[in-house]
Structures are given as structure tokens and as C-alpha cells.
């Protein structure tokens, strides 16, 4: 019978391997699965390619994963934030590579990867430095760039409420990249603040259907990145 729950975050991230591509949900702190990221730091996988909109702040969560030297490449749209010093240092010293992707193109590439679309055309970034080296094509008198779908070996996301089959709903703007990353991850790993039985979520309101989810672990009171940073927290 179907039960995707895992005992804790440690169990949930056990399979992540060296060299894996990992999508991590969140826009700023909203939706960032901090407890799963910290478990991944403990787990030890390295040489990761991480796909996430930002690069974290302070020295917790994604920034801590970067600081621990586990990320060889970031694919993101906005690696700078007010309290972010970890990524800039790694980038300038050449220890972490960066593929900068416009936010909407990043989102669409992730959705395409999850939807079995290998490539699509977009008007975004035409005529800019981010078009360098990209194939372009004209449709109806306008130029477009060819962009490729993105998939990942693992996706780490945070839900507000999940059932044991893996159906998910999110909290407000914490939804952001999580539903599309759940689609694009070969193994999608979820931390959820509330865990319920199948049937307790209204089928009209489920945002991520269970088919996209592999492991669910209950993290009842997830930390907020801004509060950790304000308190000067670091991980590990």
C-alpha cells in the first residue's frame, strides 16, 4: 500500500549522491526547505549542481550548503541578496560556477523538464548578454531564443500540508517554484508542516498531485531563514 512518509529528514535525503543535480524550492526564504537542506549538509553529498532561484542568506539553509563546499554549480536567477556573502566569495574565487537564467525562463525550463518538453522558444533575453551562444529563431516577425528543459535527480521542497500519498498544498507565496520542481525531480522529497491522511485534502485544492512526490517527512515547526539570520545562527 502507498505510504511515502519517511521517519525524519535524515531518512528523506538518504539517497542523494555525489554529483547529483538538486532542485531546491523557495524564493528568498519563502518556501525554502531549510531542515531538508541541513539534513543534506549532514548527509555529505558533494559536487552538487543546485537549481534554485536564489543562493540563500546568512549561513543557514542554502547558504550553509554552499559554504560547506558541496555545490560545484548554481543555476539561478538572482544569486545576490542583502545578507548573502557566501555565494559571492565562492563565485569570485571560482569554486562555484554560475549559470544565470532569467526567472521566467528558469521557471519555464523547469516546467518543461517535468512535462516532457525538451525545448521551447521564448522572447525573454533576446538582444541581451544572456542570449550569447543561444540559438534564435524568428516567428511572426519577432525573435525568440531556444531554451532547454531542466530536470533534476532530486527535488527538495517545503509544503504546508501533505497527505501520506504525497498530495501537497503550500502556504501563500511559499508556493513559488515548488510545484514545478516537484514535477521535474526524479525523486521529489518534501518536508511538510502538517501531515494528514488521504482524503483530508479537498481534491479541488491540491496543488501538487501525489504522482510527483516520492518521500514525505513531517517537520512540524519549520524555521524561518530571516529569524535564523537575525539571530546569527550558522549550520552546522
Amino acid at each position: 500500500m502507498i505510504d511515502k512518509t519517511r521517519a525524519n529528514v535524515t531518512e528523506a535525503v538518504r539517497e542523494v549522491f555525489d554529483g547529483a543535480t538538486v532542485m531546491i524550492g523557495g524564493f528568498g526564504e519563502a518556501g525554502s526547505p531549510i531542515e531538508l537542506i541541513h539534513a543534506l549538509i549532514d548527509q555529505g553529498a558533494r559536487d552538487l549542481t543546485v537549481i534554485s532561484n536564489n543562493c540563500g542568506s546568512g549561513e543557514v539553509g542554502l547558504a550553509a550548503l554552499l559554504k560547506a563546499g558541496r555545490v560545484s554549480k548554481m543555476i539561478c536567477s538572482f544569486p545576490r541578496t542583502a545578507n548573502s556573502t557566501v555565494f559571492p566569495d565562492l563565485y569570485r574565487s571560482g569554486r562555484t560556477k554560475l549559470e544565470l537564467v532569467p526567472q521566467g525562463t528558469l521557471a519555464e525550463r523547469i516546467r518543461a523538464g517535468g512535462a516532457g518538453i525538451p525545448a521551447f522558444y521564448t522572447p525573454t533575453a533576446v538582444g541581451t548578454p544572456l542570449a550569447d551562444g543561444k540559438e534564435s529563431r524568428r516567428f511572426h516577425d519577432r525573435d525568440y531564443l531556444l531554451e532547454y528543459g531542466l530536470t533534476a535527480d532530486f527535488t527538495l521542497i517545503k509544503a504546508k500540508r501533505a497527505d501520506t500519498h504525497g498530495n501537497l498544498v503550500y502556504n501563500k507565496t511559499a508556493r513559488n517554484f515548488s510545484p514545478i520542481m516537484a514535477m521535474a525531480g526524479q525523486v521529489t522529497i518534501v518536508q511538510t508542516a502538517e501531515l494528514v491522511s488521504p482524503g483530508e485534502l479537498d481534491p479541488e485544492t491540491i496543488i501538487t498531485p501525489e504522482i510527483f512526490v516520492d518521500h514525505v517527512t513531517h517537520v512540524p515547526n519549520p524555521a524561518h531563514e530571516s529569524e535564523l539570520v537575525a539571530a546569527g545562527a550558522t549550520y552546522p
Partner: protein, 225 residues
């Protein structure tokens, strides 16, 4: 060979039950219209399968009790169904993202013809006056991880449906993994059709005779695999 259907071999229900035996616990499954729909009745004890219908429901349950249906809760065959606990609704683009993106484990489809390299023809007889209609069949065979076909071994006129190459318009190239007929279970392998199991009372020669391509015998188990 007219009239051979069901005179030997498995009934439609037995064919559906035989398919169900091969579906692992926890699978996400799309069932095509017709005989494939019967498979849902035969989930083996102890297994939980989640049914997807491409018009926008995951967690499809059986037909409603009389008078309890909703004309807006239907399956891809446009018949009223129910939603199980844990079900979810979604729009067509999300539904086919599940299909095309390789998230479904299995699709069970009917067939007009299957070729020995796994090509499937199941959407059109190609007649000049036919109204062509394809629905989601081409998306399903292109995207779902495994494709099982359930079909009578021969047409009502006795013509083989398992053939060297399809003559009807194709649904997809090299997509079929297994064929479940009234006479046998047959795998599509790189070497062609390979017998997996015979229906009770049916022998290899009978199946070969009614198959339009070479049939390989059941693979002997080897000690080194």
C-alpha cells in the same frame, strides 16, 4: 478462423485479471477505453493502484451508484466515475504533463495492430470516409513508462493483430512492452515477439499460427541472470 474468440483461451475478464497480476503495488496507471477499463476490477489483494484519467483526475474510483453520479465527474471514455480519498483534479496541460513527462508507470491500451518491434496502431482504420479521432492515445504511448496492450489475438475475421509491420495508421513507434490476448501473454523484445505465458489449453503452435510474425518460445530460465 471466424468464431474462434473465447472458444479457447482466456475470457475478457480473465485477460484483464492477468494484466492486473503484472501491475506492481503503488503504480500510477492509465487505462484506455474499452477492455482496458476492466483491469480496474482485478487489483490483487494487498496492492494499491492509483488510476489516472487524462481528462483531469488522479485517484479515479469505480462507477457511481445509480443516481449518485455527477455529469462533470467523468473518465476519458466520458462515463461517470468517482474520486477516491487522495484524489486530485487538474487541467489538461497538467494532466498531459504527467503523461508526457514520464510520471505514469503504466498505460493499458487496446489495439488494432501491434508490430513485432512494438509499433502500435489503435486510433484509425485509415478509411477515406472515416472521421479521424485520436484523443490522448499518441501522448500516452509517447510518455508513459510501460505500455501494455490488451486485445483479442485476432480480429473478428480471424486476421492476426500481432504482425510483422502495421498496415493501419500508427499511434506510436516502438512503444508496446507487452501484449495480453485471449491466447497468451507476449513480450515485445529486441528480437521480436516472445511468448511469456500460454492461456490454459493453448499450445505454442496454435498461438504461432494465429500470429502474423515469428513468435519466440518462452525464455528458459538461466542460472546466470
Amino acid at each position: 478462423m471466424t468464431g474462434t474468440e473465447n472458444s479457447i483461451g482466456w475470457s475478457r475478464e480473465e485477460m484483464a485479471g492477468r494484466v492486473a497480476q503484472d501491475i506492481p503495488d503503488g503504480s500510477y496507471v492509465n487505462l484506455g477505453i474499452g477492455i482496458p477499463e476492466l483491469v480496474a476490477r482485478f487489483v490483487p489483494e494487498g496492492r494499491e493502484l492509483i488510476y489516472h484519467t487524462e481528462n483531469g483526475l488522479l485517484g479515479m474510483g469505480p462507477s457511481p451508484e445509480p443516481g449518485e453520479g455527477d455529469p462533470e465527474l467523468i473518465n476519458a471514455g466520458k462515463r461517470q466515475v468517482t474520486a477516491k480519498p487522495g484524489a486530485s483534479y487538474f487541467h489538461q496541460s497538467d494532466s498531459f504533463a504527467m503523461i508526457r513527462g514520464g510520471h505514469l508507470d503504466l498505460c493499458v491500451l487496446g489495439a488494432l495492430q501491434v508490430s513485432q518491434n512494438g509499433d502500435l496502431a489503435n486510433w484509425s482504420l485509415g478509411g477515406p470516409d472515416d472521421i479521424p479521432a485520436v484523443g490522448g492515445a499518441m501522448d500516452l504511448v509517447a510518455g508513459v513508462k510501460s505500455i501494455f496492450v490488451i486485445t483479442q489475438h485476432c480480429t473478428k475475421d480471424g486476421a492476426p493483430k500481432l504482425v510483422e509491420s502495421c498496415t493501419y495508421p500508427l499511434t506510436g513507434l516502438r512503444v508496446v512492452d507487452r501484449v495480453y490476448t485471449d491466447l497468451a501473454v507476449i513480450a515485445v523484445t529486441p528480437e521480436g515477439f516472445q511468448l511469456v505465458e500460454l492461456a490454459p489449453g493453448v499450445d505454442f503452435d496454435t498461438v504461432q499460427e494465429r500470429t502474423g510474425a515469428r513468435l519466440l518460445p518462452i525464455a528458459e530460465p538461466t542460472s546466470n541472470v
